[in-house]
């Protein structure tokens, strides 16, 4: 049984390269254009990705990247508030947007003969957003309710925020994407416009079009609609405050009466996939699969969940797709009657044993086999492919890096994985968090 009920578990091995054709162009104003062909159905996904996310926000303005994402649907010189989405719907399409630490993306899914209309509207709102004060205040309330729904109502999400804040000593990755409540609820129209005018420009954007299209036609349409847009001058390289050396272990206990299952999570600061140098990240991705993955075959599953193990669930995860350093984590949900201290000790012992025993040959080969297969399965969903490409490109990787990743994973040896493990498991670079109910229930 692999029912996943903790939200921080992600698929570790992602982003396979493809057998399908991918074409890359660059417009004169600096906008990158990537086309992924899939002619199985007459459908296209049109996405614009900005190399600007929560980690690019000015100090004190947390949540502005995400708030602006909401406001991008509130009208331009030629589109009334809400008309963007209404027009997409009236053309039988769906649209939405998303914000991460490193990027903000907007997409529509429509019949492929509606591509030009999508480009026309998306190009329009890249430079011509028009906002009024009353509209943006109601939308700020919506964002606060979104924070309530995603974070304030969920002790696991609050715990995760606290752990990230402790992990990153200096880098803005320690600040939540949706923003701290006190800052997100004080954001202004001017804050949004400042961020917009700086970052929403063709020389900071990537167009990804995936589906039943011909690359030359996409380029022609992109030149027509995005080509005339003016770039932001002097944008410069993305520079965020970087981490100093981590010299001390951090530990925290988060108590919430709404917490049901207590658990222990430890996250280590970890190198991410760097352009031209993805080997360490590949080793960490494989390490997460060796330790985590399916609990019936993984190291932590076998040692902690199976047999007389202490855990209901135990696994590992790696967040290696980011512009700056990411994180590697392990966690354990103890069985009833096992304390968090006992659980943490069991987790430590399991990892220590693993460092002695090394990696099973057969398990390593099975993981490699699944990576090969994932390239085939991934072709089945054009939209998720487009999203993976956009996320990688806005995290500082190139198309060559994306193409090379599966081969780098295949070429990674057990010895390299163990060497990466030896480097990552440094408690001075880690935050260990306990989530539990308060020991004495608070009564009113």
């Amino acid at each position: 049984m692999r029912r996943i009920f903790f939200s921080f578990i992600g698929l570790v091995i992602a982003l396979p390269a493809l057998a399908v054709p991918v074409t890359d162009y660059r417009l004169d104003n600096g906008m990158q254009v990537v086309v992924i062909e899939d002619h199985r159905a007459p459908v296209v996904v049109h996405m614009v990705w900005y190399k600007a996310g929560a980690a690019d926000e000015p100090p004190g303005k947390s949540g502005i990247a995400h708030y602006l994402e909401h406001l991008m649907f509130k009208g331009t010189d030629t589109l009334a508030p809400g008309e963007f989405s209404s027009t997409v719907a009236a053309n039988g399409g769906t649209d939405n947007a998303f914000t991460s630490q490193d990027y903000t993306g907007y997409f529509q899914r429509v019949a492929s003969d509606r591509l030009e209309l999508m480009m026309q509207m998306e190009a329009d709102r890249m430079r011509n957003l028009r906002l009024s004060e009353d509209l943006i205040l109601a939308e700020r309330d919506v964002v606060i309710e979104e924070r309530n729904q995603r974070v304030e109502n969920d002790p696991g999400a609050l715990f995760s925020e606290q752990r990230r804040a402790a992990l990153f000593l200096n880098h803005p990755y320690g600040i939540p994407i949706i923003g701290w409540m006190h800052e997100a609820s004080a954001l202004t129209l001017q804050d949004a416009l400042d961020f917009y005018e700086k970052f929403y420009a063709p020389n900071n954007a990537i167009l990804v079009v995936a589906g039943d299209v011909e690359p030359e036609e996409v380029l022609e349409l992109a030149q027509k609609h995005y080509g005339p847009l003016a770039p932001t001058p002097g944008l410069g390289a993305r520079q965020r405050p970087q981490e100093p050396p981590h010299l001390a272990e951090r530990r925290l206990i988060f108590e919430d009466p709404r917490a049901s299952e207590p658990y222990v999570v430890r996250t280590y600061l970890a190198p991410e996939r760097d352009p031209g140098a993805q080997e360490e990240a590949a080793a960490l991705a494989l390490l997460a699969d060796v330790l985590g993955g399916n609990s019936a075959t993984s190291v932590l599953g076998q040692k902690l969940v199976f047999g007389a193990g202490e855990a209901i669930y135990a696994s590992a995860f790696y967040q290696g797709l980011s512009y700056d350093d990411g994180s590697f984590g392990v966690f354990i949900v103890p069985k009833p009657g096992v304390s968090l201290q006992e659980a943490e000790t069991a987790l430590d012992n399991a990892i220590a044993e693993f460092m002695e025993e090394g990696i099973d040959d057969a398990q390593f080969e099975r993981i490699k086999q699944q990576i090969r297969a994932s390239r085939i399965y991934a072709e089945d969903s054009t939209q998720s492919l487009a999203r993976r490409y956009g996320a990688a490109l806005t995290s500082g990787l190139t198309l060559e890096d994306i193409e090379a990743w599966p081969d780098i994973l295949q070429a990674t040896t057990k010895e390299q994985v163990m060497a990466a493990a030896a480097r990552i498991f440094d408690r001075n670079k880690a935050v260990t968090g306990w989530l539990r109910k308060p020991s004495v229930e608070v009564t009113q």
């Binding site: 007459p42 039988g92 109601a138 919506v142 964002v143 309530n148 209901i312 085939i376």
Partner: protein
């Protein structure tokens, strides 16, 4: 003469403004008499296979609530000669992907396997479906995980709301309780209960199959008999339809959390009802059409009271409801509920405008072909059509049914279906200024 009978029905092409999706569905009947719907798609070397057993968790025996859910979690925990670990290793070696899930109306098996490993993958899946071991250590381990999920649900405002709403709506029907079971019922399940649950659900009389991918009709015919031919003919009987009840009240379940979560609803409409399509269009305008729906416009866009509000036709196998959800801060949920009630009353009394109708029809007919965009997605649609008793040419006629809905149809169905007096709310949280009727 071949013993494989298969009928190529038609190249069904779906015409909508903008998009055309050609989905060629073949009905395949295996030599052993098992029916499947197939779309051949040889471009990518894998097959997506979707199997559903109707009845699902509603077939739990009296006093054994949660047995079918636990059994479903154990299907992949060892079969034939393989224990849980051996099974997982075999699956990984083949790079086959099996997912087992169960809900009130069906148990689902979603399988994907590579063409190069097809026979071995099918053999492995066959052993899981026909000869699961249900080893005692696996039963205890997975039971521990289920109990953990049940404990988590008891502290999750969304789950608390769902449970309270279902409990008051469905009386003593299986729909009234969580298919996970309770700490008590799951704690008491034995290996024999799990075996009985398996015999009750995985039977040929409840079987529906959809297949999309790199396989021919003839190959599929043989596969069906091999994979599913050994299952028992019959098992537990599907329960009667649920008797549902609503009183138009507002039940508050106190829970200390900053944002209140509400579920609301009343009686709905069957998929077989001649008015189903007008109701479907009506609900799109009311609460299901994305950002443009009336509920989203009034509750979110104009007033900023929520991140999301929706309504949907919960037309289930054994009961039909219209249901919606909203979440707002404790000091704002009362206003959100007032707005929802007012919109419910307004649309019931006045119907919709011609413009709203046309926008909804264009939206529904335009986005329909976009669903058919992957082997796994299409396999799910094929099996859903069969469990819903839809004809094999449904895809080609569906948009015509949407276009045929008139303004008068919507007005009539709005008056018949939507009843603001009976709209019943369950609110979980610490709402302020909200008058509870419980």
């Amino acid at each position: 003469m071949s013993r494989l009978f298969f009928v190529v029905l038609a190249a069904l092409s779906l015409t909508a403004p903008g998009a055309r999706a050609a989905v060629d569905i073949q009905e395949v009947i295996s030599p052993g008499g098992i029916t499947a719907w197939l779309v051949e798609e040889h471009q990518i070397p894998f097959v997506a296979l979707e199997i559903r057993f109707k009845g699902g968790a509603s077939l739990d025996a009296p006093g054994k609530r949660g047995a079918i859910n636990l059994m479903t979690g154990l299907i992949e925990e060892g079969a034939g000669d393989l224990d849980a670990r051996g099974f997982a290793q075999a699956q990984e070696s083949l790079a086959a992907r099996f997912e087992f899930d169960v809900y009130d109306d069906a148990l689902s098996v979603s399988a994907r396997f590579l063409t190069e490993n097809r026979d071995a993958s099918v053999a492995l899946l066959k052993s899981a479906l026909n000869a699961p071991r249900f080893d005692q250590d696996a039963v205890d381990r997975v039971r521990g995980q289920v109990l953990s999920i049940i404990r988590s649900d008891e502290k999750d405002p969304n789950e608390i709301a769902r449970r309270a709403f279902n409990a008051r709506t469905y009386g003593d029907h299986p729909y009234a309780s969580s298919s996970n079971g309770t700490l008590e019922s799951v704690g008491g399940l034995t290996r024999d209960d799990i075996l009985a649950a398996h015999q009750a659900v995985l039977t040929k009389d409840k079987l529906f199959v959809g297949v999309v991918g790199d396989i021919t009709a003839e190959e599929l015919g043989a596969l069906l008999d091999d994979l599913l031919g050994g299952l028992p003919e019959t098992g537990a009987a599907i329960p009667d339809r649920a008797e549902i009840s609503f009183d138009g009240g507002v039940e508050v379940v106190p829970f200390q959390t900053p944002q209140s979560v509400a579920i609301f609803g009343h009686a709905g409409i069957s998929r077989d009802d001649p008015d189903f399509f007008p109701a479907f269009v009506l609900n799109t305008i009311l609460g299901a059409g994305g950002f443009d729906s009336r509920l989203m416009t009034e509750v979110r866009e104009k007033r900023g009271l929520t991140y999301g509000v929706n309504s949907y036709l919960a037309s289930r196998d054994l009961a039909d409801l219209v249901v919606g959800q909203v979440a707002s801060a404790n000091d704002r949920i009362a206003e959100a509920i007032d707005v929802i009630k007012a919109e419910w009353a307004r649309i019931a009394a006045e119907g919709v405008t011609q413009d709203e109708l046309e926008v909804a029809q264009t939206f529904l007919t335009g986005q329909y072909p976009l669903r058919f965009d992957g082997n796994a997605r299409i396999a799910g649609i094929l099996v859903g059509m069969q469990t819903g008793d839809l004809p094999i040419d449904y895809i080609a006629t569906r948009n015509d049914k949407v276009w045929a809905v008139t303004l008068e149809d919507v007005r009539r169905v709005a008056a018949r279906l939507l009843d603001p007096e009976m709209l019943t709310f369950v609110v979980v949280g610490a709402p302020e200024g909200l008058e509870a009727t419980n």
